[in-house]
Subunit: 413 residues, 2 copies
Amino acid sequence: MLGEIIAIGNELTSGRINNTTSGFAAHHLFEAGFDIYAMHTIGDTPTLIGEALKRALGRVDFVLVTGGLGPTDDDLTTEAVSEALNRPTMPNLEILSLIRQHLDANGNQPSTSLEKLAWLPEGAETLSPKTKMAGYQLVHGGKPIFFLPGIPHQMRTLLIEQVLPRLSTWYKGYQLTSTQRVYKIFGKHEHEINREIKKLALSEEVEIGYYPVFPDVHLSMTIRGKDENTTDLLARKSCRLIRDKLGLSIYGQDRETMESVVGALLLRENKFLSVAESCTGGLISHLMTSVAGSSAYYLGGVTSYANSMKTTYLGVNDSLLEKYGAVSREVAIAMAQGMRERSGADISISVTGIAGPGGGSDDKPVGTVFIGLAEANGTKALHFLFSGNRHEIQQLTAQTALDIIRRHLLMDS
Amino acid sequence: MLGEIIAIGNELTSGRINNTTSGFAAHHLFEAGFDIYAMHTIGDTPTLIGEALKRALGRVDFVLVTGGLGPTDDDLTTEAVSEALNRPTMPNLEILSLIRQHLDANGNQPSTSLEKLAWLPEGAETLSPKTKMAGYQLVHGGKPIFFLPGIPHQMRTLLIEQVLPRLSTWYKGYQLTSTQRVYKIFGKHEHEINREIKKLALSEEVEIGYYPVFPDVHLSMTIRGKDENTTDLLARKSCRLIRDKLGLSIYGQDRETMESVVGALLLRENKFLSVAESCTGGLISHLMTSVAGSSAYYLGGVTSYANSMKTTYLGVNDSLLEKYGAVSREVAIAMAQGMRERSGADISISVTGIAGPGGGSDDKPVGTVFIGLAEANGTKALHFLFSGNRHEIQQLTAQTALDIIRRHLLMDS
């Protein structure tokens, strides 16, 4: 079953806003066994919208349209669809009454701008009016078309809760079985991984893709077929071969992130972490706490951006800072030790470096980073020279620090 | 002058990777006076690639193709182009010699996988071989086609340094003059802004767009025309009206971010900031230090995720934590004061709250947040109830905290 995705909005074709919703939809449709023939992004221009929709209806089995359903003057999707498919708009009474309730509750005058949301093309079935999210379904020429708002979190909710179940019911039995696994790899180049995987001589039915997703490389393995047992067996065998070949370089798979993997290891070992950051400025701490439940293993940290913070909060000696400079192995070690002692953590990590663009020297160029790790048996520090812009150096440093914790916990256990 | 953008990769149509490069290209092409007719995303399938390219050549003035130029087996763009445009591939000697030098330098054997990068369609002109980035230009039927790698930072570099100057030279004089301004607004809903802007009755030539970009709303004003003086004058007048109407709700414009605006205000006032974070877990600190040069006004902070961190590092009294709980006005005030006193900052901000999904209660549901601000004249704390998932509540809290600093600095000056 093939589908097309059409994203609408001048904010997208002018590049003002990056389209994140089409990729999200493609991902979930693919996982549900549907293939995407193409994704298009076009402006809020009724003729273009109509053309794209009619072309898609002529060649695929379903269409997903996002954007242009809002209350403002530049939202033109419904008008365009009405015109292109020759379905006059008419007011949906349920939506109209919800809008009036909302306006009453807020003591507002009736607003023609909001009421615009209630006018839908003939035959439209609303998706979830009670949630106050725009979105409807049309069936045209026997093919379902879904219209979703362009606002990412609304679009995501409606796609998962409404579109996927409806589509699966509609095309029951036509979907291919699909097994996909994504391995996340840090610290190896795309073509090195390609070379190693080639040696495995995997079956031709196993489709392998390599995707640099800074700062990682993702390796995807996809097997599709009619028979679930066959694809499952082949998938299990291929996964084992890939895992054996790449070993510790694979830090996680599918939805796992470096920070979720580190969190799970800390939890398993019943250890608490704290973090002393300089050039990463809080990024490591932010990553650790982006995982729900992180308070079970993460205490917190200090962002010692200024040298005074390193002495006051981490107990780094002024003389060390003077003798070796803030970006040095000695200061990284003192930061990690100071952090561990005062916070009472089992493991503390520290980073100090030069993220740039300024602050580099011949001796310590931009990208110079020291990462320290303190634990019960002692403290060590590693020296790195990363390349990239400020943002990239910060990301590389944070990911490397987390990877050091991961490898430490794996070796230790 | 109209263009189309074609992004290639199974990782994109399967939604494994989100396409960020097309939006980036659209943005810069639009700013340079080119319009994008449509953007397409298709898989690594030679027939689809050929079709999309030929259709685009039939209706627009230039085409930008990204992705599928790498050394791995699944990179098929060049083969597809060679076939579709009937231009056999041949080795580019400059690239071949660079690859061999690279392999020699690393003591590696010749690699057919890397040498694949040197084979280009007949007539291809390389864009920037010395940078070791794939990318070339073809002129077909009098129209330029640019092929760039899909790796975001390479694509961005080549677009800015190679494609834009080449395209501007090629179509010199055909571009429309375009003035665009984007206002960034925090704390107001899209349709409220729409209602206020409508009252201004701006000229019809002024195109206004409203885009919720969580947690902000962006308002874009675009004026295009043949005569630069006329559009400039109209733009200046319209900008003044919009700014007067929306006042302090506009926190910045164009490339400015909340954190760059707060940074510039701190620098102007010659004040230093430090931050005590709980539920945002380092996000505010990360945002502040994502701006180059932030060490001129940002000292650092403490992420006191565990209660023990609040007492040890921020001097928050145990009795306060027991009596009011960690998420309370009293603790927010104590955190901000403790942070300011020990760090020696002029201004300190604190946040404590419940980002969820767990940890909420009837009394303090998920989304409850207290933000404290301490400065020379005293300390205050504000109470918020945000809605959304964990990630959204963290983002809303961080942006609100930064906005509180911004408004404080503006009122104070």
